[in-house]
């Protein structure tokens, strides 16, 4: 697959879109893989007791999942040299079925001297933004 070239990009270009489906099993899997065993991500009664609507996804799972579209677009996950986000809204994950998270990645800025492009991610669940100021810096040639 040809890798994207900095000179071909313009601010505003949508470079990738995708959908991430999160179910309870996925949360348990991420808990194990990451070592984050906070019960708000797997125990309904604990989650409601601390004032949440129910079990919610790890913010880090949402953040870690949506950046895949950027790594795949770049053709090299190691080209993602920086990545940041703000967790603005929780993603509730129902006992049955899935929570659908949608991501759209667009060029936010180009730094030709550094050879990097800032990709801004718009991440929504049921039409509401769940991540804020979500930006990945990608090194391209």
């Amino acid at each position: 697959m040809a890798r994207p070239v900095l000179a071909d990009l313009s601010v505003g270009d949508v470079v990738a879109t995708g959908t991430v489906e999160l179910d309870r099993a996925r949360l348990v899997r991420y808990a194990g893989a990451s070592g984050d065993f906070n019960p708000i991500h797997w125990d309904e009664s604990f989650a409601t007791r601390v004032g949440l609507p129910g079990v919610i996804a790890h913010g880090m799972l949402t953040m870690g999942s949506v950046v895949g579209v950027v790594a795949d677009w770049a053709g090299d996950p190691g080209a993602v040299v920086a990545y940041q986000t703000r967790f603005t809204k929780p993603v509730p994950v129902p006992r049955d079925g899935v929570a659908v998270v949608e991501v759209s990645a667009a060029v936010g800025a180009i730094d030709a001297d550094a050879g990097t492009v800032r990709v801004d991610l718009t991440v929504t669940h049921e039409g509401t933004k769940v991540l804020g100021r979500s930006q990945a810096t990608v090194r391209l040639s």
Binding site: Y30, S34, S65
Partner: protein, 160 residues
């Protein structure tokens, strides 16, 4: 509990370098699968080497696994006064000085950058400086810089 907000005296604290975290291939594959990262460089040695890496490459947020262990020194210290049932993850930032690859031995120096409080809501910001240590040498945080991970937590007070 009389006080459910964190002790501001921890701001500016720097912890000694952690014991090394050994980055394993199967851990990278497991983490990549958990976040749905299907790029072959996370899973297939030939693909990773084809991109010029010595071994499997970590997904962009894998450093959180390493950082979290270091952060535990602070957030799980009862003296820090952080009530985890009231914590919300506010933001996270990764800066990769070079990609993490399988075989890395990573040590982390944890900094508590700030502890602030306003109207019963507290925010703590930590920063993990992650270094690669050569060979089996005991880590002292003077190795090659690999990643910087900044994390902010919001802690709601008793009445908020």
């Amino acid at each position: 509990m009389a006080n459910t907000l964190p002790d501001r005296g921890f701001a500016g604290r720097e912890y000694p370098a952690t014991a090394p975290y050994s980055v394993g291939r199967e851990k990278l594959r497991e983490f990549a699968s958990a976040v749905g990262a299907a790029h072959p460089a996370h899973h297939d040695l030939v693909a990773a080497r084809g991109l010029g890496y010595p071994d499997l490459v970590a997904p962009p947020t894998f450093a959180v696994v390493v950082a979290q262990r270091a952060e535990a020194q602070y957030v799980q210290d009862p003296a820090a006064g952080i009530d985890f049932s009231r914590v919300v993850h506010a933001d996270e930032k990764f800066t990769h000085h070079r990609p993490i690859v399988a075989g890395d031995e990573l040590v982390t120096v944890l900094h508590v950058d700030s502890v602030t409080e306003r109207a019963g809501i507290a925010m703590v910001t930590t920063r993990c400086e992650i270094f690669a240590e050569p060979g089996d040498a005991a880590g002292d945080g003077t190795g090659e810089p690999v990643a910087t991970v900044s994390s902010s937590l919001v802690i709601r007070g008793e009445d908020s």
